[in-house]
């Protein structure tokens, strides 16, 4: 394994770990449930993505064959992560979980709960 390959793998691993760490920090620091949802769904896609790419490069150069499992993991991750986030947000809204005081358009939570279109006086068309 040449130095360049090692370097690429290391850089990808570091980037991945940093993003996963940021995702966890976000989960800890952010202040309400809706905002918290953003950290793990976003920060972990690139985090896990680059770790998987690093694993793929490593397997290709060390084991000598193209490892395809990582592609599948990425695919399943991309399909399932948004669904989980959507269901969590939806469940929170229907259970009337309180949002931060300064959240804008708070009344949209009520119309969404009642399956109604947003009210007319909103500046959304």
């Amino acid at each position: 394994m040449s130095f360049t390959v090692e370097l690429i793998i290391s850089v990808l691993l570091v980037i991945g770990s940093v993003f996963v760490l940021i995702g966890s920090i976000g989960l800890l620091r952010l202040q309400d449930l809706y905002v918290r949802l953003h950290a793990p769904t976003k920060a972990t896609t690139v985090g896990l993505g680059s770790i998987l790419v690093a694993s793929m490069i490593y397997m290709t150069f060390v084991q000598g064959f193209f490892s395809i499992n990582e592609l599948l993991i990425t695919l399943f991750l991309v399909i399932t992560a948004p669904v989980t986030a959507h269901i969590l947000a939806k469940a929170a809204m229907h259970n009337k979980v309180k949002a931060l005081e300064r959240t804008k358009n708070m009344d949209l939570m009520r119309t969404a709960r009642e399956q109604l279109p947003p009210e007319k006086n909103q500046d959304v068309k």
Binding site: I22, V35, K42, G47, P82, A89, A112, V124
Partner: protein, 166 residues
């Protein structure tokens, strides 16, 4: 022919199951191909009654460019969210917006909602029953809400509409 059609109601799905099975096992041995074929026949047979007709992809090439666009946006989103997460908390102004939907079918709406969740600072939170509105939670609300609605509609929804040609 009808016998074959009854045995394999969803040929594309059967083929995909076989491919995924071989990918999971990372092998091309006869045993795995046989087992994968068997699973590819049995699972669609069990799932066929659950199937709801969905619009098919009309322009496969557009899918590739759409996926690349979304990957690019995901990377940008990650950096933006990372900055917000590490910065001062009182700078974050969350909010909700409602996006009017032009798409009518479940599958395209699912693709749009998933894309919205994966990209810059937005999580889709609810689709109304009449499929007319997509409610979205925004991590950091820009001053002009309408602009964000337009971005979602033009950047993603119009492309999805082209892909499914509906």
């Amino acid at each position: 022919m009808s016998m074959l059609a009854r045995l394999v109601p969803m040929p594309l799905h059967s083929f995909m199951l076989l491919i995924v099975w071989l990918m999971i096992n990372a092998s091309l041995s006869v045993g795995h191909i046989l087992l994968g074929t068997l699973l590819g026949i049995i699972i669609p047979l069990l799932c066929a009654p659950l199937k709801v007709p969905q619009p098919s992809i009309k322009k496969p090439l557009k899918v590739v460019s759409y996926v690349l666009l979304v990957i690019k946006d995901i990377i940008v989103a990650n950096i933006e969210v990372a900055k917000l997460v590490l910065g001062p908390m009182n700078k974050i102004n969350p909010g909700f917006i409602a996006v009017p939907l032009d798409l009518k079918d479940n599958f395209p709406i699912t693709v749009l909602a998933s894309t919205v969740t994966m990209t810059p600072g937005t999580v889709s939170a609810e689709v109304t029953k009449d499929k007319a509105w997509l409610y979205v939670h925004v991590l950091n609300m820009p001053l002009d809400e309408q602009e964000l609605v337009d971005v979602i509609k033009q950047r993603y929804e119009s492309r999805i509409k082209e892909i499914f040609a509906c």
